[in-house]
């Protein structure tokens, strides 16, 4: 089994427990000072405030280090992200959710040109989950930048734009237009949407195509690049390796599982698009399996997603090698869940007497010669 010999370059601090086989690469790309992922200007003083502000007066307890580096300077304050398509553009929940407390926001799938999406009905509940077939409705990348980039650049929370397209040219053009825009901290390549006719899933089910689109986008932008894997494949490992080798900074696993529902009349399928993507607690075992498999064959960070509804789910995903998790469907029931998970994760670390959550990562993976990989987690020697 050939491993993708890549590794996220961490904070530049002296790594103490690296496995000797791992090469350090791309150290030149990452500037010594962090890129302004937390917004220009406003991000400067913020970290200092964070470190001194809450720690001194409120908690006599230990400050827990939840920071995670997904590569190429995409540094998140905590490993709880909100998943693409479930949180709009970060503004919809208004005052109900304090978005600044999230690790990062993955915005709605964005394409080069505007899309009206699929016919309705587009969503339906299923046992322990839901099916959706929105069909990548979005106003197009230029409109998204016009409308939201200014807002995002004033936020402390990094916004990762989920990018979809029908062709490699589409993907690269969207990435090019996002490159250098203030307020955009990274790109998540959605090569695995099961709900669109052209350009959806076909990139994610073939290792060569996945690598080709990843490499093309890699050439087009210096933004941190996440690639979202599809579970609708026989073996995800060669695809994950190919994407990692092609230059992705991190992987997101997994997108929804393809499924259908039948209308109550039994006369036709329920969803307007017939096919939908299954999400929610029902898919967690599948997602766990894929994170478990993928995290053993790549050396870039894996961001887990699938049915996270409570802290135990987060800990499960960390145990199988994820460095961060995305919360999706559960937001619909409980919009305050992601921010609460951040607190609960910190409390859990405190309870276990840990300074950070790094020791929780990879504990359920098969034992290897070296210590559990802390892929992507920032080293603080």
């Amino acid at each position: 089994m050939v491993k993708a010999r890549r590794r996220v370059v961490t904070n530049g601090g002296a790594p103490t427990k690296r496995r000797p086989t791992v090469r350090r690469i791309k150290s030149a790309i990452l500037p010594a000072t962090r890129r302004a992922v937390h917004g220009n200007g406003a991000g400067g003083p913020a970290p200092a405030e964070r470190r001194t502000g809450p720690a001194a007066p409120t908690s006599p307890e230990r400050e827990i280090d939840l920071a995670v580096d997904l590569g190429r300077g995409l540094r998140l304050e905590n490993p709880i992200l909100v998943a693409s398509g479930t949180f709009g553009y970060g503004v919809e929940y208004g005052d109900v959710v304090d978005v600044q407390r999230l690790g990062a926001i993955c915005c709605k799938g964005t394409t080069l040109r505007s899309r009206v999406g699929n016919p309705t009905p587009r969503v339906t509940e299923t046992p322990g989950g839901m099916l959706n077939s929105i069909g990548l409705q979005n106003p197009g990348v230029d409109a998204v930048i016009d409308k939201y980039a200014a807002t995002w650049s004033g936020w402390r929370v990094p916004v990762i734009v989920n990018v979809a397209g029908e062709s490699i040219a589409d993907f690269t053009e969207v990435a090019r237009r996002l490159d250098g825009q203030p307020g955009i901290a990274g790109i998540e390549l959605n090569i695995s949407c099961p709900n669109v006719g052209k350009g959806g899933i076909q990139f994610a089910i073939d290792a060569e195509a996945a690598a080709a689109v990843t490499a093309a986008v890699r050439r087009a932008t210096d933004l941190p690049l996440l690639v979202k894997l599809s579970p609708n494949v026989a073996d995800v490992r060669p695809i994950a390796r190919a994407i990692a080798d092609a230059g992705a900074d991190a992987l997101t696993a997994i997108n929804t599982l393809s499924g259908i529902a039948v209308a109550p009349s039994r006369a036709r399928p329920l969803l307007g698009n017939v096919y939908g993507g299954l999400s929610g607690p029902a898919i967690k075992p599948v997602a766990l399996r894929i994170v478990y498999e993928v995290s053993q064959v790549v050396d870039i960070p894996v961001v887990a997603i699938g049915g996270v509804t409570e802290l135990a789910d987060v800990l499960d995903y960390l145990a199988v090698g994820a460095v961060a998790v995305q919360v999706g469907t559960a937001i619909f029931a409980d919009p305050t869940l992601p921010a609460r998970l951040v607190d609960e994760l910190a409390a859990e670390c405190r309870l276990r007497g840990l300074d950070g959550y790094r020791p929780l990562i990879g504990t359920a993976l098969p034992k290897r010669a070296g210590p559990p990989s802390a892929k992507g987690v920032e080293y603080r020697p």
């Binding site: 919809e92 009206v116 016919p119 309705t120 969503v123 339906t124 839901m130 409705q137 029931a333 409980d334």
Partner: protein, 332 residues
Amino acid sequence: MQRTTLRRTTPATTATTAEPRARHVTTRTRDPSPSSARAPTLPPSSMRLAGAELIDSREILPGQWLQAFHAPELVAGARAGQFVHVRTGDYSGLVLRRPFSFNTIDPIAGTLTIHFRTIGRGTEWFTRLRPGDRVDMLGPLGRPFEVDPRTRHVLLVAGGLGIAGVRALADEAIRDGRQVTLLFGAARASEVYPSSLLPDEVEYVVATDDGSVGHHGFVTDLVPDYEAWADQAFACGPQPMLRALAGLAASRRSRLGVASLGRKRGAGRPIPAGSPQARRRAFLQVSMEQNMGCAVGACLGCVVMDTKGVPQRVCREGPVFASDEIAWEGGW
């Protein structure tokens, strides 16, 4: 304590006085700048996440339930046509909240009622709630019915459970001194909404598909009798009913030759479609229904296609739309 009681009593009185003032303001703001073509203003982000305590639960018709909740934070500022998104207690099986229109709103008592039919495991879960139980509600969501201040005669059209969508407007219109006629259609007599649950001032006309009570036929058959009387109409019900009503509304002026509201004032100035002003001028406003995910506009699950080919979110731009905003035939 004194202050809260003072505030609670105000909405009933301010609402009547606020509307003529609002009209005055809109005419003034339209004049100075040509910015009237800007996008319709989104509802103020007044939605809140709050607990609600069940105080009454009754099966008013076979399989149809009326539940009253005490939720002062949600009721303050809520208007007819808006809705709440309610979380079930069984997250392991039921991952989505359930949207319910405000059936009645009582800002003084801080209570609201919802009216629903048991159609699945979620709604059945609600029927098992007992007084004192608490549920988690998100609201008020969506945009309300817009009644023109000059409207005297309000026609409400409801098909089946659509009554839940327009019921609160009957209260609001009567409170504002308007005359209200409610046309109600149901499959059979046993599904007709009890008149005892309506305000006395409402004229209540019933149609049933099997003729077991009232008019024998669709509720839309009754509409032509009231079309000339009504200044504005508001409807909620099955999609075919709304489509038929939209057809009637579109041809109303040519058939009846009646003056439509707002023709003199502001003639020639463009009013952006979908804005409160545009909806206030429409003869017919409809409350739409779609399967819903987040109910705040994030997931884009609950869209209807408008006449310009732009999907509109039922939870955010709706659920109330002017009938001429919607592409009734097809869309995609």
